[in-house]
């Protein structure tokens, strides 16, 4: 522990913390103050997002730290704990801030200043930003800013972050605050509280690695499950006793220790704010209230919710389509150009085009979906609707451990689990968030669709018609959800041990969002997606390429060519000259077929195929032959790969897609060459559904694993991968065995 409380040397850049209740426009204000000069990361060891920006003050550039939104410093949630640690200067690698800007909702002074009073205990110079001043004026009210400044003892600046008003005044006030070191006048506590604090401080001396600030001690006294308590060595008994004695004192005063702070502080604020808020004009009726009458209505509310979600889903699912096609085309073009350059070096060329560009391209293709989804998420959040959606849906999701806010991530996972998992950041409750992330990959994402279309098109539609085929497709989409709900319940009950947070959600007034903030959030999400997970994806891609490419014995090509030529000559009644002439033309049908045969031969003896053949007995119970097994194994990095892999293995070339008639007929005609089923078709209806169930339940997406690893750590990512694979195997074995027994 190297952090010191002493103020840093003057030449160091000043650190300014930005704190405030959620829904006060804190993020808008942060964006206004820093512009595009922002860096996003995580606090060490926790998944709380750390946002830093540069703000230019009179003294020069300073670092602005955007602390997570908090209603109080009672360190019960991860966010609040981080806020307390940063403000106390107890977070490793971070200095105690030189000043703090407290963003306050001008329309709800009392509750917002509650947080400011808690911070006041730290003695850090403070500036109060009275944001949402326009909402206050819309209510026909005004605040006596000068009087408030006098009573609080710190600068108070009225701002409208949405319109960037008051920002330069705020910047000036921050500069002054650092120089003049004006702190908010702390509350005067009853003697008993002060005594208790002193006693705890004495008791804790020597039992903590750093001396506790008064704020931290007060948190220990007032909060039932304070995280500060954990900093005291193994919850030392003398300290615990001192806390108990202190709480006894409060009880004697007639105060419940858990409520003492709120009771005393609200009483203090009541007096402090007397006559500050004035009714200047005519009071207008609350617009938000009448909107809510409709938005939260039993029928109307659910209908609007349904329509909105449909629009979001459609946008992610289909608007992204053309952009994704564009990326696909661009990928093909780059592959062509780079492939041309690297022609003299076939191995390197294959690594770059078939490995890196193909793999990274398959990942980047999700970018449009991410951008579109985050556009809508920011829009829904900034207008205040997201909280309403959570309110409407909470009952449906609450019983299995998720909460109302799980709905949007789950829905977007139907398009792609990656944006879905990133969208879970809107869930404050860490437990619900974790469970949502773990079940999101079970939702049937769009990459599973080609597999369903291919197999249902080849085996269900010809036999049972379009209507049943459609039904089968729908059932495959429901399967994931049907598994996800009980899985969430089990995870909540037995696996994820984090303490659940009560569902306590503010329904903020409806507001018009600031477009810059919406676009900025969208851009940030895209940037992070490409930058962070992209590095891991690149590495995985290279490894998988190597497994599919090597070993590469040169003689294999000659062997296949010889065999193929001999076959063709025999088929052409011995006209060797004709066959050779056709093979000399690289574009002839025969040459293409030979090329596919060579690719197929190499793939069939690659390390990946050897793995597939080795583990085929495992999949035998699910009715897979070695070719399907290789396809399944090869598609672990990205499930849509199965189509092209099957194409390569059945020597149709890698360019087949799910609608290609060749692949459908080839699959339908494939027969067991030997073994107990020799001569019978490999793909029965039971096998087709067994494969589909496997794909529905399996975590065959390297990108998703990488994103889960980023959000929850590698342990959870691997656990998710292993358990989903196991579930997929069990599911497909059940389907195959039961299906076969029933005669399908």
């Amino acid at each position: 522990m190297t952090t010191t409380i002493a103020s840093p040397p003057a030449q160091q850049t000043k650190q300014i913390a930005l704190i405030g209740n959620p829904n006060t426009g804190k993020t808008s204000l942060f964006n206004c103050l820093t512009g595009m000069r922002q860096r996003v990361g995580n606090y060490p060891g926790v998944t709380v997002e750390k946002k830093l920006g540069t703000v230019y003050l009179a003294q020069g550039p300073a670092t602005l730290i955007d602390l997570p939104g908090a209603y109080s410093l009672a360190a019960s949630s991860l966010d609040e704990r981080v806020a307390v640690d940063v403000l106390s200067g107890h977070l490793p690698g971070m200095e105690r801030p030189d000043a703090v800007v407290c963003v306050v909702d001008a329309t709800n002074l009392k509750r917002n200043l509650f947080l400011a009073m808690q911070i006041a205990e730290l003695g850090i110079p403070m500036v109060i930003a009275l944001n949402l001043w326009d909402s206050l004026e819309a209510r026909g009210q005004t605040i006596d800013v000068d009087e408030l400044e006098k009573r609080l003892g710190v600068p108070v600046v009225a701002t409208v972050a949405r319109k960037s008003t008051g920002v330069s005044e705020l910047r000036e006030a921050i500069s002054n605050a650092i120089q003049q070191e004006r702190c908010i006048a702390p509350m005067i506590w009853p003697e008993e509280v002060d005594e208790a604090v002193k006693e705890i401080q004495i008791a804790a001396k020597g039992h903590t690695t750093v001396a506790l600030t008064e704020l931290e001690v007060r948190r220990m006294l007032f909060d039932a499950g304070s995280a500060v308590m954990r900093r005291v060595e193994s919850q030392h008994e003398t300290v615990r006793n001192a806390v108990q004695i202190g709480r006894e004192k409060l009880r004697k005063l007639g105060l419940n220790p858990m409520a003492a702070e709120a009771v005393l502080c609200y009483k203090h604020l009541e007096k402090l704010l007397e006559g500050i808020v004035k009714q200047a004009g005519e009071a207008k009726g609350e617009k938000s209230e009448s909107i809510d009458k409709l938005m939260l209505h039993r029928i109307g509310g659910l209908t609007i919710f349904g329509v909105l979600m449909y629009v979001v889903f459609q946008a992610v699912y289909s608007w992204a389509g053309p952009l994704m096609d564009l990326i696909d085309v661009a990928k093909g073009a780059v592959q062509g150009v780079v492939g041309g350059w690297l022609e003299p070096w076939p191995i390197l060329g294959s690594l770059v085009t078939d490995g890196i560009i193909e793999g990274v391209g398959a990942f980047v293709i999700f970018l449009p979906q991410i951008l579109i989804l985050f556009f809508f998420i920011s829009l829904l959040e900034d207008t205040g609707y997201m909280a309403r959606a959570a309110f409407l849906m909470d009952r449906l999701f609450g019983w299995c451990g998720l909460n109302g806010k799980s709905f949007v991530p789950m829905l977007s996972s139907y398009a792609c689990a990656i944006p879905g998992i990133l969208a879970t950041r809107t869930i404050e409750d860490p437990k619900a968030r974790m469970v949502t992330i773990l079940v999101a990959p079970l939702m049937s994402c769009s990459a599973r669709l080609p597999v369903y279309v291919l197999l249902i098109g080849a085996f269900v539609e010809p036999r049972y018609g379009v209507r049943i085929a459609g039904l089968a497709l729908f059932a495959m989409h429901l399967l994931g959800l049907a598994i996800a709900i009980p899985a969430a319940w089990l995870l909540t009950k037995y696996v994820v041990k984090t303490k659940p947070q009560p569902f306590l959600l503010e329904l903020p007034p409806y507001r018009v969002p600031r477009m810059q903030d919406v676009l900025y959030r969208m851009w940030q999400a895209g940037k992070e997606f490409i930058g962070r997970a992209g590095t891991i994806i690149l590495a995985i891609t290279i490894i998988v390429w190597a497994l599919l490419y090597f070993p590469r014995p040169v003689e294999l090509e000659a062997q296949v060519t010889e065999q193929f030529t001999a076959q063709q000559i025999a088929a052409n009644d011995g006209h060797a000259d004709l066959v050779e002439a056709e093979l000399a033309d690289p574009d002839s049908a025969l040459s293409v077929e030979l090329g596919n045969k060579i690719d197929s031969a190499y793939t069939n003896q690659s390390y990946m195929a050897r793995i597939g053949k080795t583990i085929q007995p495992v999949f035998e119970l699910a009715g897979f032959d070695w070719k399907i097994t290789v396809g399944v194994v090869a598609s672990f990095p990205a499930r849509e790969v199965i189509i092209s892999t099957l194409g390569v293995i059945y020597s149709l070339g890698g360019d087949v897609d799910e609608d290609s008639p060749d692949l459908k007929t080839t699959l339908a005609n494939a027969k067991w060459p030997d073994g107990p089923h020799a001569g019978q078709p490999i793909f029965t209806l039971a096998v087709a559904f067994s494969i589909m169930v496997f794909f529905a339940l399996c975590q065959q997406c390297g990108a998703t694993v990488a994103v889960i690893a980023k959000e929850l750590g590698w342990r959870w990512a691997m656990a998710s991968f292993v358990s989903m694979t196991a579930m997929a195997w069990i599911g497909s074995v059940l389907v195959y065995q039961i299906g076969t027994a029933l005669g399908f």
């Binding site: 522990m1 926790v46 704990r81 070096w345 390197l348 590495a539 290279i542 490894i543 190597a546 342990r715």
Partner: protein
């Protein structure tokens, strides 16, 4: 020959990178002796 060396180096680098990510994330980060960071790992 040089081509094979380059490709082998790239593949090994990728493997090493993944290994390093794995090692880094399976170790508790930023905990040190300060128990405030919220690291849930039991000691």
């Amino acid at each position: 020959m040089t081509e094979v060396t380059i490709v082998a180096a790239i593949v090994l680098a990728a493997g090493y990178y993944l290994f390093r990510c794995w090692r880094k994330s399976s170790k508790p980060q930023g905990c040190g002796d300060n128990k405030s960071c919220g690291c849930r790992r039991k000691r």
